[in-house]
């Protein structure tokens, strides 16, 4: 279709549809922020659907269409170098969004530090475990998709807190498994089988995102457990479902990454590049080595949401109380807040 010839095109390339936050939240936030910061730019959102080869085609097609900036949330950090090279060859600046992209040139990286997400998960888990009288505490680790950059960083962050406990004998990891494609159904089967394997003697399910923790919760329910019987921790993304579990006591926490903040910062960077001013120096607070260069990074803070600070989610405008409390109106926290 013939759009205004002079409108600069910004392509926001999402990694997949399975991590739903990208389509349902990041994209609208980014579009809205761009409308404000660079009203003349045209934002086109596309999705790699979990296929790195497909995302590379998207990058190439974006270049063909005369992209001014590409905002890339790589489908697979390890297979993004070809995309980065195509953009570099065509002199189209790339801003990395959230996901890493290894092996090529990028202008900036706007990211919730995956490592700090893992650290937040690990720290919370360690606190809870230390509070338990039992020793050793039996932990099942339901990890993310093997080989993904994020999975590696979350694990590293978690281990910073977990490893000492393991070494001291306070924690015994009884099951450990990657979850193909983060598929909650697989996480559920795995959690069920872990319970079986240990005769029900599992104290903690440590996930990596709300899909894997949700799978663990469903497993507990299917095995007839009650809220609070077992500790489910290590959520991430603060999905509404996970928050409901938190409210009900099935799950302890979920790391909130305020996507609006991330999208807004990304829009700032992009707008500045579009204006020909390059990456705004004041936003840069670190760097990420992607094996090609040190990419200037905009690291964003993360916050762990538990029952105690559930309202932070509402304050940040991520969800409203009615959204969270739908179907669980009779929980304490909802009775208190959802009027």
């Amino acid at each position: 279709a013939a759009h205004a010839q002079d409108a600069k095109k910004v392509f926001f390339l999402l990694p997949n549809t399975t991590t739903i936050r990208f389509t349902s939240r990041d994209a609208p936030f980014f579009v809205a922020a761009m409308k404000e910061k660079a009203p003349n730019a045209q934002v086109i959102v596309q999705n790699g659907e979990g296929d790195p080869a497909r995302q590379q085609r998207l990058v190439e097609d974006a270049i063909t269409q005369g992209a001014s900036v590409i905002v890339l949330a790589a489908t697979d950090a390890n297979l993004a170098a070809g995309s980065l090279k195509a953009a570099a060859d065509a002199k189209v600046p790339v801003v990395l969004y959230d996901h890493d992209a290894v092996g090529g040139k990028a202008e900036a990286h706007v990211v919730f530090d995956s490592l700090s997400v893992g650290q937040a998960q690990g720290k919370r888990a360690a606190e809870l475990i230390n509070a338990m009288k039992k020793s050793p505490v039996k932990v099942a680790r339901v990890k993310g998709n093997e080989g993904e950059y994020g999975t590696g960083q979350y694990e590293k962050g978690q281990n910073e807190f977990l490893q000492p406990l393991i070494d001291s004998g306070k924690v015994k990891v009884v099951c450990e498994q990657y979850t193909q494609n983060w598929d909650p159904a697989l996480a559920q089967s795995f959690a069920e089988d872990c319970l079986t394997r240990n005769g029900g003697d599992v104290d903690v399910f440590l996930g990596m995102n709300d899909g894997t923790t949700g799978g663990s919760v469903a497993a507990l329910i299917s095995q007839g457990a009650k809220p609070g019987d077992k500790l489910v921790t290590g959520g991430q993304d603060a999905t509404v479902e996970a928050l409901r579990y938190v409210a009900q006591g099935w799950q302890d926490n979920s790391v909130l990454k305020d996507l609006k903040v991330e999208a807004t910062y990304a829009a700032d960077v992009v707008a500045s590049i579009l204006d020909g001013k390059g990456v705004p120096k004041d936003l840069i607070n670190g760097k990420v080595n992607n094996k090609f260069m040190d990419v200037p990074a905009v690291f964003l803070p993360v916050k762990n949401i538990t029952l105690d600070n559930l309202s932070d989610v509402v304050t940040a405008g991520v969800w409203t109380w009615p959204e969270i409390c739908k179907g669980i109106e009779d929980t304490e926290v909802c009775k208190k807040n959802n009027k």
Partner: protein, 400 residues
Amino acid sequence: MANSAAASGDVKRRTFGEVLNSDMRALPVIIGLVALWVFFALQSNVFLTPQNLSNLLVQSTVVGIMAIGLMFVLLVKEIDLSVAAINGVTSVLMAKLVVDYGVSPWLAVTVAIVTGAAIGSFSARWVTFVGVPSFVVTLGLGLALNGLQLVLLPPTARYGLMGTGIDKIAETKISGITSWAALVIGLVAFAALVLSGIARRKRAGLEASLFSRFVLPLGAAAIFGAIVVTILNAHQGIPVVVLIFAILLGIGGYILKETRFGLYLYAVGNNDEAARRAGVKVARIKMAAFAIAGGIAALAGVLGASRALGVGVFSGGGVGGGTLLLESIAATVIGGVSLFGGRGSIHAALLGALVIGTVQNGLNLMGVENYVRLIVTGLLLVLAVSIDKLIEKAMGQQNF
């Protein structure tokens, strides 16, 4: 007519191979399955616990139920790559009706199943009228349905089903006297069917050995059923999803073995031109097969949603059908259904799903590394089926 020796010897002098070929066609796959069980029992001492066997059964149901439906399509020499997408989109539709519109769970589930069947019959019409291979039609339709699924989902991308009533399906287990009553009802229905057939044969003056036709199969069913019920009761009872699976297997078996429609499926799959010349409405049979696959996929979607306590982008295996699609097809093929039509019986769905479920469950219990899990899964799948084939070969069976 020559070779009367052979012809009249049909009942009395059946070799082991012959027996295998007909009634007990399932035996080799069962041996493969038992081999897997022995392997995992040696590897993990919880494998044979009632709790685990109960889990294993439940974990195999969604794929098993999908496989029942797919069988109908494979029997007529077609394929349906959209079953996983149907599973996903109808479960989301069901959840939407329940959550957003407050429709009663019963009605919502019915709507989902009818929608699934309608989608299936739509693919069939395209296949039979336009002549596009079903592989292409259902591949395309599946993608379109994946898209539709995204449209149906709310901005939160998920409908939670806890407390909606749908969650009760996966939660409920029947135990104690009720569970035994269920078994008895099943056995009585089976016995009544078999006996009515035998009575008819007797009345018609045909041979009808009460032992081989009635006592043996009923006894086997009773013993097998009793074992399963005992094991399940030792955990928490018969999960409703397992009961549904069992009922579907029963109905499916009846349709395939006893009814005219079942016969037509085999006829069309073997030689659709011959079936057409004999007056079988081939297009209609295919349409029914696809509709059944679609409706059953929708039901499996409901059960899956109930188990996962919600629906989302992942329901139905995600874009392209993912593992769910592949496992459903694999289950039927492992169970002995031919991709080239006209061959396979209902136990394929059960056995195939159990083989897949066993390998996954067993490896989870062993707690092996991810790469080991992949390698072993692959090899065990092939080996389980190879045992089947090697036994068949040793028995010198001929297939048509």
